[in-house]
């Protein structure tokens, strides 16, 4: 299905950002894929193009590709359009770094803290990154939403009194 308003927005944005890929997914849904180092330029461009509202930053751990995908959800209130800006970064802890965008979208600060706590992506320039967030101190540095997080091992370690975890079983239903 073609949606002309969306095609125009994508065309207008891609003219100024030739490094990006953009497409119309369906009515009122746009999608952009950009290289990680251009995120600040691109979000600044999006804000100038009437996307004032940041809804959230989602992270997806693609463990087979060795990458973490960050999805910035933006909303255009006037043209009633939702845009996803997708970025891929390596998932190694020392390389999973992104520049913060909280000076462009102040709301991003909270979402960045969220992604840092659960995925271990470090957002450079966000001062609140070091502050305690949802997880307790002993859990910090474990990054529970990563796909290779050993959930059963963690449960066994934390709740030692539970003896229902049989060592001989290799499959558990959680």
């Amino acid at each position: 299905m073609t949606w002309e308003v969306g095609e125009e927005i994508v065309k207008k944005i891609l003219e100024k950002a030739p490094y990006a890929e953009g497409r119309v997914r369906r009515e009122r849904r746009l999608e952009f894929k950009i290289p990680a180092e251009r995120i600040r330029d691109f979000l600044m461009l999006m804000k100038e193009n009437n996307f004032p509202l940041m809804l959230q930053i989602s992270a997806v751990d693609w463990v087979k590709d060795g990458e973490i995908e960050l999805v910035y959800h933006l909303m255009n209130v006037e043209l009633r359009t939702h845009a996803m800006v997708k970025v891929r970064i390596p998932r190694d802890l020392d390389k999973a770094k992104m520049p913060t965008v909280r000076d462009i979208y102040p709301a991003a600060e909270t979402y960045e803290r969220d992604v840092h706590d659960f995925f271990g992506v470090y957002f450079e320039g966000n001062e609140k990154m070091e502050m305690p967030w949802i997880l307790d101190d002993p859990e910090r540095g474990l990054y529970p939403h990563r796909k290779d997080f050993d959930m059963l091992g963690y449960v066994k370690k934390k709740y030692k009194i539970l003896d229902r975890f049989d060592e001989n079983k290799d499959k558990y239903v959680i």
């Binding site: 369906r26 004032p52 809804l55 997806v60 209130v77 709301a107 909270t110 979402y111 967030w133 949802i134």
Partner: protein
């Protein structure tokens, strides 16, 4: 009269260890068990009874729903995710189902869409009544709170007849709804209930929304402007109280909303009172929407898609892809980003609770300078739902 300084000096001389207090400020842990904070914890730095600094302290409720959802088959996740926001548990069901529908490419039958719209609006009305209960308890008008709880009970009873459960309905499922509406009697009862609640709105106005005490307590506290609210990602009635008419039902239409005629109430002041009044107007609009839907009547047809995949739910698979769906809840824009890798479990479920925007940064900034007695009022006027934050 003995001054406080003398008492402190005496206590120190008697060997008591007192913490050094710089000037007159002290730290106050507000919540999470305190009932005025609705399971949310704030660390306040106080000077006398004025807040100097506030730090939101989430994490008390964290239940790891998003991680658990990755280990469960697609259909059983509904029973899990609806627990994210208790007062309107139909919203997480709806966003999850809508996102899954979009990934599969299902066209949900009209009858199912109609039922989903009715359920969502009923949830909105019951959540607003629940909110009125909270607000009036915090204002000290307990009578209105008890009325609101009693009227909500009528909706709960209708929900029970429709879905088999009072609070957690597990009703909206991918592809439609779980079962059909019980019959014309139920529709008549719903119509009566809507009329009944509408007839009781003037009572709430007299007791709460036009009350001198409410104006004294709520006017001019927790003020935010349009620019600030948009930058902070605030949505829902909190944003509409600053003058931005952003409503997902109008701006990203879903289900039956494009065919309905309703207004999006906005106010300009952006203070606690404006937020309360916007909610009051919205309650009226929601009742109006329900009236329209009931007048329209349920369209004929099936209440869920007919697909062979629905025969074996544990092995039900969703093709690889991702989708974002969002609906308007009473707290704001409630969304879910769902990724599938083609298996029988979701690869990633990320829920966007509206409270995460106005419950952390905005709250921290609005509380500065407020009196201790205003803290629960500001919290209640923002309608913070802590489980949204601690998913």
């Amino acid at each position: 009269m003995v001054t406080q300084e003398e008492l402190i000096k005496e206590a120190r001389e008697n060997g008591m260890e007192l913490y050094p207090i710089e000037k007159d400020t002290y730290e106050l842990f507000f919540g999470p068990q305190h009932m005025a904070t609705e399971n949310f914890s704030i660390i306040l730095k106080m000077d006398g009874n004025r807040v100097v600094k506030a730090i939101a302290n989430p994490g008390f409720l964290h239940r790891g729903f998003e991680k658990l959802a990755e280990f469960r088959p697609w259909y059983t996740n509904i029973a899990l995710l609806l627990r994210i926001c208790v007062p309107e548990s139909d919203v997480p069901e709806a966003i999850y189902s809508m996102a899954v529908d979009e990934i599969i490419g299902w066209e949900v039958p009209e009858r199912a869409q109609w039922i989903r719209t009715v359920v969502l609006e009923m949830a909105r009305v019951s959540a607003y009544l629940f909110w009125i209960m909270g607000l009036s308890f915090k204002l000290g008008v307990y009578t209105a709170g008890q009325w609101a709880a009693a009227y909500r009970e009528r909706l709960m009873r209708l929900f029970e007849e429709l879905t088999g459960a009072r609070v957690y309905h597990i009703y909206t499922i991918p592809g439609g709804v779980r079962r059909d509406i019980p019959g014309d009697k139920w529709l008549r009862q719903l119509k009566d209930t809507v009329e009944y609640i509408r007839s009781k709105l003037p009572d709430f106005d007299n007791l709460v929304f036009e009350n001198y005490i409410t104006y004294k307590r709520m006017e001019g506290i927790g003020v935010m402007d349009k620019k600030f609210a948009l930058a902070e990602g605030v949505t829902g009635p909190n944003l509409r109280a600053t003058g931005v008419a952003y409503d997902v039902r109008k701006d990203d239409p879903y289900l039956f909303y494009p065919e309905l005629d309703f207004e999006v109430p906005t106010l300009k002041e952006g203070d606690a009172l404006a937020r309360a009044l916007v909610r009051r107007y919205e309650l009226e609009q929601d009742l109006y929407i329900l009236e329209q839907l009931l007048e329209m009547g349920p369209p004929s047809g099936s209440y869920k898609v007919e697909d062979p995949r629905l025969k074996n739910l544990p092995r039900f698979k969703v093709p690889a892809g991702d989708a974002f769906a969002h609906v308007e809840s009473t707290k704001g824009d409630f969304g879910a980003y769902i990724v599938s890798d083609g298996g029988n479990k979701p690869y990633r479920v990320h829920v966007r609770g509206p409270s995460i925007a106005h419950g952390i940064r905005v709250l921290e900034q609005l509380l500065v300078g407020a009196r201790i007695a205003d803290v629960p009022i500001i919290l209640m006027s923002l309608d913070n739902c802590p489980p949204d934050i601690d998913r």
